[in-house]
Each structure stands twice: as structure tokens, then as C-alpha cells.
């Protein structure tokens, strides 16, 4: 006589999986918060063959279509930008300055910011575009 044994259905426990997933989620959300970036509503200029210009430390100067200037997403005068760039250069000389201007901004507005950077002898500037 053959004795058969009732086998229980094998179930993979998924509870631990969701725990891992949520821990990962919290970690990534925290990293995203650290990298939080304030954006100014602008129409990015477009160009082909744009290269990645982000460095380890970055500073963003925004110029909107009306010519208003922002530093890292917050409104700032040219004097404030000058101070901030000086401080950044003193603390971390490798800080990369990104100039993010609206595609319709008059060149003279961008030129004002460039003049400040030139006055501070800030050498390399990144002109940010949207890759077409």
C-alpha cells in the first residue's frame, strides 16, 4: 500500500519584500529631499548636442523672460548674486555656475549677469539648455 502525504501549498512570504521596498523608498525620498532644487518657471532655450555640465557643487543663476534674476530658485538682486558667488568661490573654488535664462530673455539681461561674473573673474560658466 502506498502512503501519500498531504503536501501543504508553498507560499512565498511577501511581507518582508514590502518592508525592504518601503525602506528603499524612504531612503530615496530622503536623497531626493537633499537634492531638492527650486525651479523658476522659464522656457528653456533648446539646442542640439548639449553636454552634461553639472559639477559636484553647483550654483544656479536664473533669468526669467522679464529679466528678473534668481539665485538657486529664489529672487535675488545682482548685488546678492555677486556676494553669493564670491562666498561660493571662497568656500569651494570648484563650484560651477549655471546660467539658466528663458529663451525669450533679452540678451542685455543675460549680459548683466555675465558682467558680474566677469568682474569677479569667474572663469567657466555653464549655459543651460534643454537638449532637443
Amino acid at each position: 500500500m502506498k502512503i501519500t502525504r498531504n503536501r501543504q501549498n508553498f507560499v512565498v512570504p511577501m511581507n518582508a519584500m514590502s518592508d525592504v521596498a518601503f525602506l528603499l523608498l524612504i531612503f530615496i525620498m530622503l536623497v531626493a529631499l537633499i537634492n531638492y532644487r527650486r525651479e523658476v518657471k522659464i522656457d528653456y532655450p533648446e539646442a542640439h548636442d548639449a553636454k552634461k555640465t553639472s559639477a559636484e557643487k553647483n550654483m544656479e543663476i536664473w533669468v526669467d523672460s522679464a529679466g528678473l534674476t534668481y539665485l538657486d530658485g529664489l529672487p535675488a538682486s545682482l548685488e546678492a548674486i555677486e556676494e553669493a558667488v564670491t562666498d561660493a568661490y571662497r568656500n569651494a573654488p570648484g563650484t560651477r555656475v549655471h546660467l539658466i535664462a528663458d529663451r525669450n530673455t533679452a540678451f542685455r539681461r543675460v549680459n548683466e549677469v555675465l558682467s558680474v561674473l566677469q568682474l569677479l573673474e569667474y572663469r567657466v560658466v555653464s549655459f543651460v539648455v534643454k537638449d532637443e
Binding site: A32, E46, N104
Partner: protein, 144 residues
């Protein structure tokens, strides 16, 4: 006395939850990638610095207030400008391209020309507002 038996909880309940969590993770990873800036690196010259360029090596373009491109007084499009630069670069290794920009020119037009100069790997490219500010991208700096 009625004896109650504890029911075993099933494992399968949270499977959808982990799916949701992984979808959120993917979302945040994708969002984090948006923070990378793309564009063009250029060198700022020292204030009031000058560079000597032979007249034959100089190719000058102008952008008017509407963003129209001019070369030697006549309107040209980007393709013509590209051909012009390519032709001259072949015979003039030290070619210097200068772009004169009207103060009211939309930034997009300037960016388009910068992109062209970078694509053609012009050895010495500078743009200047008609008031006098000069921005250069030459072999001496770390741009490009």
C-alpha cells in the same frame, strides 16, 4: 465552552503594496535624474582683456534685435553660417568667429549660435554685445 481557533494570516496580502513601493522608487529615481543640467561650458575672459587676431582669420556675424543673423551686411541662415565657418576653418586654422549681439536679441538665438560654434569646434569663438562686453571660448580655457 466554545473553543475558537486562530486563523493563520495569509502572506499574499501585501504583494500589491510592495509593487506600489517599487513603482514609487522608480518614480523618485527618474525624478532625481531631472536635476542634471545640460548645456555648454564657456570661458569668461578677464575684464578688458584683448586678443590679437589677424584680419584674415576673423569671421564676424551679427544678430539683430529680432534674432536674424547677418554676415557682411546680408541676412544668412544657420546653414549658410555653418558652411561659411566650415569653408574658412579649412583654410584658416586660427579662425576666430565673433558674434555681435544686439541687446534685445532673444537668448535662444544666441544659444543656437553658441551650439553651432561648439559643434564645429571653432578654435576661438567669442560673442559680444554691441556695447562692448566680450565672452570668449578659446583654447586657453577649460571650456568645451
Amino acid at each position: 465552552m466554545k473553543l475558537t481557533r486562530r486563523k493563520r494570516r495569509e502572506y499574499g496580502d501585501s504583494a500589491a503594496l510592495s509593487d506600489l513601493a517599487f513603482l514609487l522608487i522608480i518614480y523618485f529615481i527618474v525624478i532625481a535624474g531631472f536635476n542634471i543640467n545640460k548645456g555648454f561650458l564657456m570661458n569668461l575672459p578677464a575684464k578688458d582683456s584683448t586678443r590679437l587676431v589677424l584680419k584674415d582669420d576673423l569671421l564676424r556675424f551679427e544678430l539683430d534685435s529680432a534674432g536674424a543673423l547677418f554676415h557682411q551686411g546680408s541676412a544668412v541662415d544657420m546653414d549658410t553660417a555653418e558652411t561659411e565657418i566650415r569653408n574658412l576653418a579649412a583654410s584658416h586654422p586660427n579662425l576666430a568667429v565673433v558674434l555681435g549681439v544686439n541687446p534685445e536679441t532673444p537668448w535662444q538665438k544666441v544659444v543656437s549660435f553658441i551650439a553651432l560654434a561648439q559643434r564645429l569646434e571653432v578654435e576661438s569663438f567669442s560673442f559680444t554685445m554691441t556695447d562692448g562686453f566680450t565672452m570668449t571660448d578659446g583654447p586657453a580655457g577649460g571650456g568645451r
